[in-house]
Symmetry: C2
Subunit: 451 residues, 2 copies
């Protein structure tokens, strides 16, 4: 007798593709409820339903947009709830999908196994169990190292009490690796803007979080032999490094003399802030400066970076690095006139191209639609609305300062974008793969004129 029969669980719920949005929704509502409890509030603060709902969604979707200051509105139990929601939303959801796959895997056979593995992005059968352990250990390792560095530094330089330093260090390490973007400080990382130990530790924790578990696992085993990497790992690693480099150079170029951001900083400080300005849009969401003060050039590049996001099956959002570079390879193949789209010594199927194209176009449509909705529902400029909507869809959490000024309907739009951004990128590709069906007959082809 399988677990499913014994527990009378409806089959639909056991499909990870359908279960993930449901589990997300349950956790958001649970989080909202908990954050509304009086013992979660700071004694002097009141928290409305919308504030709790927005904060819970932002935490579970690991976005980091905030309509209230977390540090001053929530007591430590409230902050703990937020930490747990972000930990669940970043890596927990991947474990849940794994667990569902393991629980029902024995009975439902290959189709479900394949589905759950597409969900988890595992490339071979029978790896679900070890992957579970591996994800936990990877997370523990990165969050542990980050937390230790931060706690020591916070205690030495910023906080007199060890418990305060420890709490800030643990909270920030969880937010960093989960790309959750929330901060206990009212001004985010700005309190530590000139401290390379803290800024660089958090920046690198964010960066490792954006890589994604399948790639981290492959790198652990084969980091010395890039020639043996899968196409997925190659695209993710080299693509991410290229994006970080491009973002870094452009940020420094555009902002070098901008007094509102890095204009007044020393050269080494500028270079450090530039790295942060390149890494955080994809999609860490923490900032030592006010993104509302960047130049329009930087804004445009940052919106593009937020839309691209991080690696697949990572704590980052966006359409994903592989999706973006795969499409770039398609254009390249088309310009060169190649029959197959080739990456290294492997070809990419027409089906994979279709999926990448669909994910990218849906992402762009959601960002544009979200921008339009924010313009209609709030008093905002076009760049601010585009930045906010893309930040929500990409679960980035950066803002030019618009978030606290959003009307309630506009807040609901942002909540929907964050939800679709996090849930969609985990489930859309799997859903596409599951729904694919051989048709009984093939239609003849006809070629419309393109361009």
């Amino acid at each position: 007798m399988s677990l499913r029969d014994r527990w009378h669980v409806p089959a639909a719920l056991l499909s990870p593709v359908r279960a993930v949005p449901l589990v997300f929704a349950v956790f958001i509502l649970l989080g909202t409820g908990l954050l509304l409890l009086p013992w979660c509030h700071d004694p002097g603060a009141s928290v409305s339903f919308m504030q709790a709902f927005f904060t819970a969604t932002s935490a579970v979707t690991v976005t980091g947009l905030a309509t209230v200051d977390i540090g001053s509105h929530f007591s430590w139990p409230g902050q703990l709830v937020i930490l747990l929601l972000a930990e669940f939303g970043g890596i927990g959801i991947i474990l849940v999908a794994t667990t569902l796959g393991v629980l029902v895997g024995g009975r439902i056979g290959l189709r479900m196994k394949l589905a759950s593995q597409t969900d988890l992005h595992v490339t071979g059968l029978g790896q679900v169990g070890p992957l579970f352990r591996r994800i936990l250990l990877t997370t523990l390792f990165f969050q542990g190292v980050t937390a230790i560095i931060l706690v020591v530094r916070y205690r030495m330089t910023y906080f007199d009490r060890f418990t305060t330093a420890a709490w800030h260090g643990i909270f920030d390490s969880v937010m960093a690796f989960n790309n959750a973007g929330l901060s206990l400080q009212p001004t985010g990382l700005a309190a530590y803007a000139a401290d390379p130990i803290i800024v660089l530790t958090i920046t690198f924790a964010v960066l490792f979080g954006t890589v994604g578990f399948p790639v981290l696992a492959e790198l652990r085993d084969r980091w010395r032999r890039p020639d043996t990497w899968t196409i997925h790992t190659r695209l993710t690693v080299w693509g991410s490094l290229l994006l970080v480099a491009i973002g870094w150079v452009l940020f420094l170029w555009f902002e070098w003399t901008n007094a509102g951001t890095i204009g007044a900083q020393s050269v080494p400080h500028k270079i450090m802030t530039g790295l942060e300005g390149s890494v955080m849009p994809r999609s860490g969401g923490l900032a030592t400066f006010n993104w509302g003060d960047v130049r329009p050039e930087t804004m445009l590049v940052t919106v593009a970076m937020m839309l691209i996001g991080g690696g697949s099956a990572s704590t980052a959002g966006g359409i994903k690095v592989t999706t973006f570079f795969l499409l770039a390879y398609v254009v390249l193949a088309e310009i060169r006139g190649d029959e197959q789209v080739r990456i290294g010594r492997r070809a990419i199927s027409a089906q994979t191209i279709r999926t990448a194209l669909s994910i990218a176009l849906i992402g762009v449509a959601l960002a544009v639609g979200g921008t339009l909705a924010l313009l209609l529902l709030s008093d905002s400029t076009l760049p601010d609305a585009a930045f906010e909507a893309t930040s929500a869809f990409g679960t980035t959490g950066l803002s030019t300062g618009l978030t606290p000024h959003l009307s309630i309907p506009a807040q609901l739009v942002v909540i929907a974008l964050m939800f679709v951004g996090r849930v969609g990128t985990i489930t859309a590709a799997s859903a596409f793969a599951m729904r694919r069906r051989k048709s009984r007959f093939r239609l003849p082809e006809e070629q419309p004129i393109i361009g």
Copy 2:
């Protein structure tokens, strides 16, 4: 002995794919030279090299962006030069490609024939000659009807002298059908804003120009039997109507109470201006109101419309209606889980999808890159720069008012965007098709994780 041998024409020049950019460049330089001649200037005006170069490029690429007022800077011979440049850039270039194809078609065989036909977007062999005649007659018909209506109305209501009325009517009819966007009036169509005869005549002339010759030809023969239309004609006709309807409704919704645009107009007047606001971005480029005064919502939708543009092998620019809707069908097929991408009872090949994807992504990259360049090289806001760059790439010609304030390097960026926008959309898809080669070996496929 073929014409090619007798004239010693290098083979490379006879390839329409390579010849089109060259012919465009020659005409722009020729136009620049002519516009610099004193007898082309209004007695009281001086015209600099950059002004002549910009105007000639804008005319040949049928864009309509202008750094000077055409009516007051150029004498009637100068205006005639501009008219001829636009007539060449809109429909002449298609005739040139046809002629090249016919001249060399007999000798170079199927490959070149196919290339020239891809260029012309003719779907069967042996239609090049009749097509030539057909394009000329179609143009004559639409421009003739438009000119007659305009001349009569101009004489009746706006100009005392028949010659002035005739010249304005002919000029405006050529600009309208060629989607060339230039105007003899300093404020464009604003002088006739409340005149439905003129506004509607010009709007419909623009609309017919955006459809494209292959579709106009098919419609002439089979407009009563939509079930016999090719996929190309279906996508273009229904897609264009859908885009016009969406643009119309959104324009009216967003601008209804905007005192800067249609807020003070009567309801019928609003509805007429709304149609203009929907048709002109794709890519007529004429306006009865100031696009710098529209709301940010309208701006965002208009940038998208300018990027999409009109039909293939038409006088409009952009990535084209078929490209856009084909990609929408890909996303739809992916969501529905269809193995083939189907439109009606026909399937679309993976190769066509790759071409459409490439054209769209290159278009977006050029618009974004152009926006970035304009921000760096001119003092502009992000929305104004995005509007201007997309308008140039889409050879639309609408502007929020930035054009006369562009620095010379920024003007060169706009010139490059207009050139690539017009030449690229005529030649890129053909170039892709010509360069395609069977590879000697096929690589094994590998699937990266998408999304």
